[in-house]
Amino acid sequence: MASPVLVAAAGEVGKGFFHERTSESLPCQAKPDEVFCFDWARDHIDRFGTPALQHIELVVFSVLLGFVVAFALALLAHRQGWLRPPLLALTGVLYTIPSIAFFFLLLPITGLGRDTAIIVLAAYTLQIIYRNTMLGLANVPDSVKDAARGMGLTERQLLWRVELPLATPEIIAGLRIATVSTVAIATLAVFIGAGGLGTQIYGSGNLTFPTSVIIAGGIGILMAFVFDGLLLLAQRATTPWRRVRPA
């Protein structure tokens, strides 16, 4: 890696970073032992609105992108067995790259802002979505596939009418994990100038003023729960056969 690139990248990031900081002085003269300042929270809750919406946008787009790519890779690997180990390795390697380093790596190509953040966050979801999709497909009983082929379903019909519906619980389970972890990692998007809840956590002075961090963190947790709940509902809606009482 050429160091000038990194230096330049650091500068760029720095610009974005300092761009976000607010010049106002800390509004709540918190006592050193005061963890949460309710007065400040009441007066400034609206400043979290835009970052929260940005955060939702980051999570939704990156999980969607990650899902499309991972799903396509999984279908490819499902058809071409020899692709499974290399694809698993590839998604695994992507998963191990530290997020901030990943932002820097993409900076010269995609620049600052939302797109870079979404690409990086999507890359992190690949591994879990890919693995879970493969797991779901592998869990489809052989007898069901044999019967389906024996009745005259083509391979494509088998995939879309039998294998994928039966793999849905695992696929959605993967999406749930990917979404919740993306909600957390997306707080780092602030370093690439993509906004989000990270602005209220890593912004100037915030780390020494816990109230803002706590509110932003709380919104993040709430957001993770809501996403997870929505996906759980989607899973229940798409897999009614899983809830029947056995004979």
């Binding site: 052989d142 007898s143 596939k145 019967a147 082929r149 005259g152 056969w241 029947v244 056995p246 004979a247």
Partner: protein
Amino acid sequence: MPSDEVTERGSSSGASAVRYAGATKRYPGSAKAAVDELTLEVPAGEICVLVGPSGCGKTTAMRMVNRMVEPSAGDILIGERSVRERSPAQLRREIGYVIQQIGLFPHRTIEQNIGAVPQLLGWKKERTSARAAELLELVGLDPDLAGRYPAQLSGGQQQRVGVARALAADPLVMLMDEPFGAIDPINRERLQNEFLRLQAEIGKTVLFVTHDIDEAIKMGDRIAIMREGGKVAQYATPAELLMDPADEFVEDFVGADRALKRLALMRVADIDLWEAPLAHVGQATGEVRAKLSGAEVPYPLLVDSERRPLGWLSERDLEGAQVPARPDSPLGPLLDRDDVMRDALADLLQGEAQYAAVVDHEGRIDGVLSVEIISEFLGSPAAKTEEHSATERPHG
């Protein structure tokens, strides 16, 4: 085998003959063929059972018909058409397929499962639903089950749905791979009987794979016994197979008790019965005694005016001048001409009786079956297998 079989393709019964013509399957890297130049013909509307030890290629032979296994050489004809004429998917939609693990779609309702092939064929929804309801009834299930998921059904019910699903688009041929193998013995017997009853109605050409010779004998119109290396050791009707095994392998496979198994294939009417000396109430005992001399059955059988048996007369009954109205000995087991011989023998043994009256559908006396007749039948050259097996039998 007749070369020009009449096939019923296109007729309302919708069954086609299946003809293997030198069908061979070789797997790469294996010196021996899995199925070796198989040539046999299953006439339209018959059940042909492929039976043999594991690894004999019976399932491979069956799966070549719907090209779940592609033949390496030779051909298979359904009616007059080679299975190679159509794409595998199209071919399979005309062939019912039932497997041991059933393989119902867990995410589809029973109705949707039964409607799987009709859906592929583009049937209208109403027609598919009506067909599903009809088939549920045909296989003895409550049509109310249509909306359930497979997990809500018992194993036996699931396999009935499996059969219904295979029949949905009125296939020309049915392939059944150990269909009742995973079902408990009581339900298996019930399903076998139900399928035979169903088959009498629908008259499909069925290829049925099993490793159980008893099931083969029960289900098959014809049985192909296969041996390792994918060769047919003998292809014959169950009776021929039991009477005249082609070689030692078949003899061993059919089992030492094949004479007894033959009893399962026969009905009482198939065997020569003894004639009973008949006696009527009020008849002079002298007349009856006269009939007894030289008769095969040493006791007179009391019958009513319609020749319906009432009971056996003992020596004491004949002491008077006239035959009494109440016989000394009860009738004992009463057999129907249509009873299966094995059951008849069981009735005799259970009733600890030497003789049993056999009646026709009106209940009139037809003859007498004795343990001796059965024992003679079992000992006859046609039925006799190995001495050691015969001595184990509780006859004589």
